[in-house]
């Protein structure tokens, strides 16, 4: 392998794949970035076996070939190089990568490219297009409800369902559930029903926002889902298992409904939450056209705020985790939030003016 490119182009490729470099894998080679030089193309790739990312940039290739270079190291080097041309030459006999830029030069030990795992690749006929903007917008509404607890893998994923011209995503960490349905301008070529790691989709958003393409190319295989374009490919391992049936989790009816300005509510929750550290309850009392939000920390103090609210139903006091509540309120995209409640031990439902999004949140049982 022998190539020339600019620092910025190299940095672009490395940064695109950097987030998939495994940070704590026991498999050493996964801490590396695979560099592969083909005709006028430099491809960088990284995987932690859950998410794989490949990025392609143009380069002046005088000799094709491949090497796996320690990922963090290479990223750190590109960050401090001066702007300008960078030359990469791989010495296969020594197993060394020579990197030159201006008067600086590095010789880096490498891993053998042959030992690097084969990354998933879409077969030509598998690809179909999904409009990127609605895909990302839908994802943004639900992704925060996904769980980070690895002991329940299904909940660390987002259910992505594409059926004709209807895209649905759902996520839950078992304490709240968020569901968004989005109509698409046209039906997609294929249907999808997959649980995809929330983390992988987060990386996709980061990559996608940079590319600003109109459509995502998608391929769904038995174990993998692949997204991308010519510039970069991201593949994510599909999560096995049954996603909770969210329609059944939605209660049939509610006892009371409140309408509150979304921003006012979010601000009030943020202010009172200062006195409700992690996992402790924030008390919401709906009574007499007024919502009173309170939080109290033993030996520290308490906070209280009231706001006017249109509330129908009997007065009720209910406790919520402030973070779950705030994330729900922020996920509503209309000026007004509808909060629907049953009683202090049953789920509450947050929604906007339309019914295409709902966020179910379980209360914290309050101490009497």
């Amino acid at each position: 392998m022998n190539i020339k490119t600019s620092r910025d182009v190299l940095a672009e490729a490395l940064q695109a794949v950097g987030r998939a470099v495994s940070a704590r894998s026991t498999v050493q080679i996964l801490s590396g970035i695979l560099l592969r030089a083909e005709e006028q193309i430099l491809e960088a790739a990284a995987t932690d076996m859950e998410v794989s990312i490949r990025a392609r940039v143009t380069a002046e290739v005088t000799e094709t070939g491949a090497a796996v270079v320690p990922g963090r190291l290479l990223l750190d080097i590109t960050r401090v190089l001066p702007a300008g041309e960078v030359a990469l030459a791989y010495d296969a006999n020594e197993g060394l990568l020579n990197l030159r830029s201006g008067s600086s030069s590095y010789r880096l030990n490498t891993y053998a490219a042959a030992d690097y795992p084969r990354l998933p690749e879409p077969a030509p006929g598998e690809l179909f297009a999904v409009p990127q903007e609605p895909f990302f917008a839908t994802l943004a509404r639900v992704s925060r409800a996904a769980s980070r607890d690895e002991s329940r893998p299904v909940l660390t994923g987002i259910l992505v369902r594409l059926s004709g011209d209807r895209l649905t995503m759902a996520a839950t960490d078992s304490y709240r559930l968020s569901v968004k349905e989005t109509p698409l301008a046209a039906a997609c070529d294929r249907d999808v029903d997959a649980i995809i790691p929330a983390r992988a989709l987060g990386e996709l958003v980061r990559a996608g926002q940079a590319s600003r393409e109109e459509h995502l190319q998608v391929a769904v295989q038995d174990n993998q889902v692949m997204f991308g374009s010519n510039a970069a490919w991201l593949s994510a391992r599909r999560i096995d298992g049954q996603f909770p049936n969210y329609e059944q989790l939605k209660p049939d009816g509610f006892e009371g409904e409140a309408r509150i300005g979304r921003d006012e509510l979010a601000d009030a929750v943020r202010r009172v939450a200062v006195l409700a550290p992690r996992n402790t309850a924030m008390r919401l009392r709906f009574a007499d056209s007024k919502l009173t939000i309170r939080a109290q920390t033993q030996d520290v103090g308490e906070a209280e705020e009231s706001l006017p609210v249109a509330f129908s139903g009997e007065s009720i006091e209910i406790g919520f985790n402030p973070q779950f509540l705030l994330e729900g309120v922020e996920s509503v995209d209309s000026e007004e939030v509808r909060i629907r409640l049953i009683n202090p031990l049953r789920p509450g439902l947050l929604a906007g003016e339309r019914d295409d999004f709902w966020y179910l949140i379980m209360p914290i049982r309050l101490a009497s």
């Binding site: 002991s151 329940r152 078992s174 096995d240 298992g241 059944q248 009683n343 031990l345």
Partner: protein, 380 residues
């Protein structure tokens, strides 16, 4: 900070003596049946001369002193005395932390500005307790809990020991390492194997030596205590830190089915208490005692607190299996405890046990909404 530790002297026995003054000059043991499998709860000072100690089996106590009087504990009576004691202590030092029916800490710093005054406060407490109940108590006064606690035991019965700031280390140094709160049988074995017999010897260890004897946090905590350093403040009104229920069988039990049934029934009793307190717990413990008196306990901490009898019973039975796998045998006692208690509990939308079952098994039916109200007798 000036803290006193108050310890009532031979409390249960002292109450019994008050109820029946004839017992005062006789060896008296409060505890279980000496012909059965009871243990000594408290012995009076006469009985202690025969070598009778708390937690000894009553049969052993009877062997050491065949003419001892054995009395069954009357807990209600002790509770009533204890309340009176603490009511009159609070009149002198308003902030107290009861750590047991017969002991607790007093915030003396609230009413005394130096150790001279603190001694006077301790004397006032003693006099007041004696006047109200005729009971005798011992107090230790020091700058922190651990030293106060050890000091209260130095001049029993009826003594007051004051350890002034700066004297903590020299006071503790010659004392037996076993007197240091926090040194259990396990740490004691390790310390003794390393030739550390006194609190002073532990206090002198450097980091490297310490790490070879006692690992991690526990080691550093115990060394701090040995040095007379203990930042713990008085805890607020005593809340339950664990709820447990246990039962000694009339005869050792080997049948797993019967043990499961016992554990499940006890889980129900524990849940009754949780309900009263409005609490849920994350850690479940099963305790077993074998025919030879040895005790084992196994615990598991759940991801989320629970107050469900079925869940507690299920985990308790699994823990029993684990204990019996490690050491099989017939049991004279089993117990179920719940700790890591919380008042407020995040309710789940999706039941975790159902989720476990369904993950990976596509054929499983959908999960259902879980409603606390439909599940159990909780009010709103």
């Amino acid at each position: 900070m000036i803290i006193a530790h108050l310890d009532l002297d031979a409390f249960f026995a002292a109450v019994e003596e008050l109820e029946d003054p004839r017992l005062r000059t006789k060896p008296l043991v409060v505890g279980g049946d000496p012909k059965g499998r009871g243990v000594v709860a408290t012995a009076n000072y006469v009985a202690r001369r025969y070598g009778i100690r708390s937690a000894m089996s009553c049969a052993e106590a009877l062997r050491r002193c065949p003419h001892a009087f054995f009395v069954r504990p009357s807990r209600n009576r002790y509770s009533a005395y204890s309340r009176t004691v603490w009511d009159c202590v609070r009149e002198i030092t308003p902030t107290v932390e009861r750590t047991g029916i017969d002991e607790g800490y007093l915030d003396v710093g609230e009413v005394a500005s130096d150790f001279g005054e603190a001694r006077a406060v301790a004397e006032a407490v003693q006099i007041s307790v004696r006047a109200a109940t005729s009971l005798s108590c011992s107090l230790g006064v020091a700058s922190c809990k651990v030293v106060a606690k050890i000091a209260s035991d130095r001049r029993k019965p009826g003594g007051i020991t004051v350890v002034r700031t700066g004297q903590e280390r020299s006071f503790l140094a010659p004392l037996d390492i076993r007197l240091l709160p926090g040194v259990g049988p396990h740490s004691e074995r390790r310390l003794s194997a390393a030739g550390i017999e006194t609190i002073g010897a532990l206090a002198e260890l450097d980091d490297r030596e310490l790490s070879t004897v006692l690992r991690g946090k526990v080691g550093r905590l115990l060394r701090h205590r040995a040095q007379g350093i203990d930042p713990r403040a008085l805890a607020g009104p005593a809340e339950a830190i664990s709820i447990s229920h246990e039962e000694t069988f009339p005869r050792d039990v080997e049948s797993r089915t019967q043990l499961y049934a016992e554990l499940n029934a006890m889980a129900g009793r524990v849940v009754e208490r949780l309900d009263v307190l409005g609490q849920a717990g994350r850690t479940i413990t099963t305790k077993v005692r074998y025919g030879d008196f040895s005790i084992r306990s196994r615990s598991r901490t759940l991801a989320e607190p629970t107050d469900q009898a079925e869940r507690i019973g299920e985990v308790a039975c699994q823990l029993l299996d684990r204990a019996l796998q490690d050491r099989p045998g017939a049991l004279r006692l089993v117990g179920v405890g719940v700790s890591n208690l919380v008042n407020e509990r995040q309710l789940p939308l999706v039941d975790s046990s159902e989720l476990q079952e369904s993950s990976g098994a596509a054929a499983h039916a959908a999960l259902t909404v879980r409603s606390e109200q439909e599940d159990g007798p909780h009010g709103t």
